[in-house]
């Protein structure tokens, strides 16, 4: 791949003038990044509200939740959630969070805003595709939301939408007709948006780096977004046809996923010849890389922010990049660990379990590199660095439960229990959320020109760090006790004694959720009334900090940027500051440079 020592051939689209072009249908990657972030912000609060409803119902099954009947008269008569409505809310919670929050904010949100700036480019090479990618994602969100309000509501088959429950239509249950079709249409649309976005990320990284910006001089965030977009291109390309096949089984009389001889609701299902496990293979071939798509940008952001706040580079950026790439590669060969008891050939189970265990190694190396880099550093404590350090703790906690689930013999006991739910919430949901918070507190000033309030940020951190542990650690104990997941109530003899634990979790969830309103307040208040952000408030070195806060339309005000060394020149002996900007021609100790 060539280093752009000649001036890169870029689009020089002129600055927009109309309101629509500036803020709505914008070609500017920065606006698109903020639009994605805004979409994720709306989605996360909806997803969180859904989780509150779920947790209230799990603690107190017959509780009348005031106002719920306005969302659904049939789903919550008198405000009391029906069993099917619990599952419908649960399905939407998972779908909204995984797709519209965890895939959107850390990758499409921050990536769109900062990737071009961090490689010294004016914009991405396909600004129209980029604009389309956001609006297609937005349309996907609207399609999903309509499922709440049409027919008998959203689907109840979970974000995993296993067949044939999700394929045979309305006979299988409420929401399984139109609701399921809308779900599949939404996700298929989302895939298209992601494919367009990934295309832009990859081409920006490979072709639009400025003079002197070799691949090894790119910040770790750029590497993370680049690796994520490679995964995105291949993983979403499989989910898209899977969703289309699912829709066809609903509307075109096909039987991709429906076997013969099934009797549902007293009637023989008029389909035959399909494969139940086919959906699971297609879904998880996408699904496992998807969870790495959710977490790898966070790994990049946390590395980037930690380095700035440790005032020293990582022990080895190359090793971290190698580990992210290894995680991405291995993510394709481990997906069967979601299917150990699915009826898949048990020998395949063993085959999938070995790379699943091996994937622990690059994940461990990443954590060790971070912890080893903390040694002898000069840690600065602020909201961003607190969340970055909290990410490490949370990633370890969530990752360790993976030891158990990677082994098929233990999965016999733990599959389908709260142990799994605890594992993925900690290692993916909470950790990725911490990555988003890290990025927000770090980059808000640059994006919006005003700094966030540090006191509120720290309060937000403390309540969230302790709160998420308080919520999700007990999930593992419930799992060991055999508490099955996706139950709307606990009626079995052995589950009833566990209800007090669920009630405790509900209280923890409500308190921690309330703390997120502090974050929302901080965002909104700071956006309009926060202190003006300087160009480089963190004394950081990468290219986003050499331009104004916020950056001008073309990122660098027409300046041609040249880069002279790697992006993490901190702790430099003999320099007046303890850092050197990436575009500074100042002669420095070159041993630290990794070519």
């Amino acid at each position: 791949m060539h280093d752009m020592s000649t001036h890169p051939a870029q689009h020089h689209h002129t600055a927009p003038t109309s309101f629509i072009r500036k803020h709505v249908f914008s070609l500017d990657h920065k606006v698109i990044g903020k639009q994605y972030y805004g979409l994720a912000l709306i989605a996360v609060y909806i997803g969180m509200a859904l989780s509150w409803l779920m947790r209230l119902h799990l603690g107190w099954t017959n509780l009348a939740i005031p106002g719920l009947q306005w969302l659904s008269k049939t789903g919550a008569p008198g405000g009391v959630m029906t069993p099917e409505y619990y599952l419908q809310l649960m399905t939407m919670h998972g779908t909204i969070m995984v797709f519209f929050v965890l895939t959107t904010a850390p990758f499409a949100g921050f990536g769109n805003f900062f990737l071009p700036i961090q490689v010294g480019a004016e914009d991405m090479p396909f600004p129209r595709f980029n604009m389309m990618s956001f609006w297609i994602t937005f349309v996907a969100f609207i399609i999903l939301m309509t499922a709440f309000f049409v027919g008998d509501g959203p689907p109840l088959s979970g974000w995993t939408a296993y067949v044939p429950l999700s394929a045979i239509g309305a006979a299988a249950g409420p929401g399984q007709g139109l609701g399921q079709i809308l779900w599949a249409a939404s996700i298929a649309t989302f895939c298209i948006g992601q494919l367009l976005g990934s295309l832009n990320f990859i081409t920006t990284t490979l072709d639009l780096r400025t003079r002197g910006m070799t691949l090894m001089r790119m910040p770790l965030t750029v590497w993370a977004w680049f690796i994520t977009s490679c995964m995105g291109l291949t993983a979403f390309a499989v989910l898209l046809p899977a969703c289309i096949l699912l829709i066809l089984d609903h509307v075109a009389g096909t039987s991709f996923f429906i076997a013969s001889g099934l009797v549902v609701n007293g009637a023989l299902v008029p389909h035959s010849g399909g494969s139940t496990l086919l959906w699971q293979h297609l879904f998880w071939f996408f699904g496992h890389p998807e969870v790495y798509i959710a977490i790898v940008p966070g790994v990049g952001i946390v590395s980037h922010v930690l380095i700035t706040n440790m005032r020293r580079p990582l022990l080895s950026s190359k090793v971290l990049i190698g580990c992210m790439a290894t995680l991405a590669f291995l993510s394709y060969v481990v997906y069967g660990h979601h299917m150990f008891v699915s009826g898949m050939n048990p020998f395949s189970g063993l085959v999938f379990s070995f790379p699943t265990l091996i994937i622990t190694i690059p994940a461990t190396i990443i954590v060790l590199i971070w912890i080893g880099s903390l040694y002898g550093s000069k840690i600065r404590i602020n909201s961003a660095s607190l969340f970055a350090l909290g990410f490490i703790s949370m990633f370890v906690s969530g990752g360790v439960s993976g030891f158990f689930l990677a082994q098929p013999s233990l999965d016999i006991y733990l599959h389908g229990t709260y142990f799994v739910v605890g594992h993925f919430h900690m290692v993916m949901a909470v950790a990725a959320l911490f990555g988003i918070f890290t990025g927000t507190y770090f980059w808000f000033g640059k994006m919006f020109g005003r700094m966030m309030n540090e006191t509120l940020g720290k309060i937000h951190f403390w309540l969230t760090f302790v709160g998420t542990y308080a919520i999700f650690m007990p999930f593992h104990y419930l799992g060991f006790a055999g508490n099955v997941r996706r139950y709307q109530a606990f009626v079995d003899d052995y589950l009833q004694p566990l209800i007090p634990v669920h009630r405790y979790i509900t209280v923890a969830a409500l308190v921690t959720g309330a703390a997120q309103l502090i974050f929302l307040y901080n965002l909104i208040h700071s956006r309009f009334w926060g202190p003006i952000a300087p160009e480089n408030p963190w004394e950081a070195t990468s290219l986003e900090w050499i331009t104004t806060s916020p950056p001008p339309f073309d990122n660098f005000g027409g300046k041609h940027i040249e880069v002279f060394h790697d992006p993490y020149q901190y702790g430099i002996e003999g320099s007046t500051n303890d850092y050197v900007m990436q575009n500074s021609p100042e002669q420095i100790h070159t041993e630290r440079d990794e070519k």
Binding site: P83, K378, M473
Partner: protein
């Protein structure tokens, strides 16, 4: 604040470990012949995971404590061994640990899935359907009658769609809403689903297996403790999923023979 953060991490780590160490919500007692292999694997994994978890959190906390609030003149120090040392340590330690778990865990997995049922294992068929389990015993002829999906008639309690008029093998089949088995007798459980995906889970037996539409799967196991246990569905199957269960009764051979005779009389 850094020191307080370090302490918080340590407190959370210890608090997380306490319920495990004190067996506050333990796995139920194992009642199966293959169970001890799984339980041993679980205990080994818990020890390794527990040590890794505590060590990582404590070291993270220690470094946050030690390396915050340092003066501007303080020197940056490099971790002994640098990145390569950590990479080698991770590959050797974690690699050995996970390979050991993987290799030894194969035995537990093989005990369930790679050994065929013995020739004198007792066959029982379980049918899962929204939202109940039904069990079928082959009767004196030792043969199960054919399932005809179009003949399924729940109102008349023909849950398996048997052709009682024309199918001789079906005439002596015994259908029950709960599962009884003799203790210390190997069972060959044939799994069939009427409509969509379900799963068969008995915690104490250490078995879990999905039902797959279109695939007839089976499990085999031997229960070695008399008692009453719950069978629950663990694969989301619709609105009644939470309530889809049946009882498993493990009885002495004599009690089982009596039970089976009573069920036959009730057909």
């Amino acid at each position: 604040m850094a020191k307080f953060f370090a302490i918080t991490i340590v407190v959370i780590a210890i608090a997380s470990a306490i319920p495990i160490v004190m067996h506050m919500w333990p796995m139920p007692q194992d009642i199966s012949v293959h169970g001890p292999l799984i339980d041993e694997q679980m205990a080994d994994t818990m020890a390794e995971a527990g040590i890794s978890f505590l060590a990582a959190q404590f070291i993270l906390a220690a470094f946050i404590w030690m390396f915050s609030n340092r003066s501007r003149e303080a020197k940056i120090r490099r971790f002994p061994g640098g990145a390569m040392g950590l990479v080698i340590a991770a590959v050797l330690l974690v690699g050995t640990e996970v390979l050991a778990l993987g290799v030894f865990g194969t035995k537990a997995w093989a005990a369930v899935y790679f050994t065929p049922p013995s020739a004198d294992a007792m066959p029982i068929q379980v049918q899962a359907g929204q939202f109940a389990f039904y069990f079928r015993y082959p009767g004196p002829d030792g043969k199960f009658g054919t399932i005809h999906p179009d003949k399924i008639d729940e109102a008349n309690e023909n849950f398996f769609g048997l052709d009682l008029t024309n199918d001789p093998a079906a005439k002596d089949d015994i259908v029950a809403a709960e599962m009884a088995i003799p203790v210390n007798k190997e069972i060959h459980l044939l799994m069939h689903t009427k409509d969509l995906g379900h799963s068969f889970y008995v915690r104490e037996l250490r078995v879990q297996q999905d039902f797959v539409p279109g695939l007839d799967l089976s499990l085999h196991f031997t229960a070695n403790k008399i008692g009453k246990y719950e069978i629950v569905c663990t694969q989301l199957c619709g609105l009644g999923h939470y309530n889809m269960k049946a009882y498993l009764e493990v009885m002495s051979q004599d009690d089982f023979n009596t039970w089976l005779k009573q069920q036959a009389a009730n057909q």
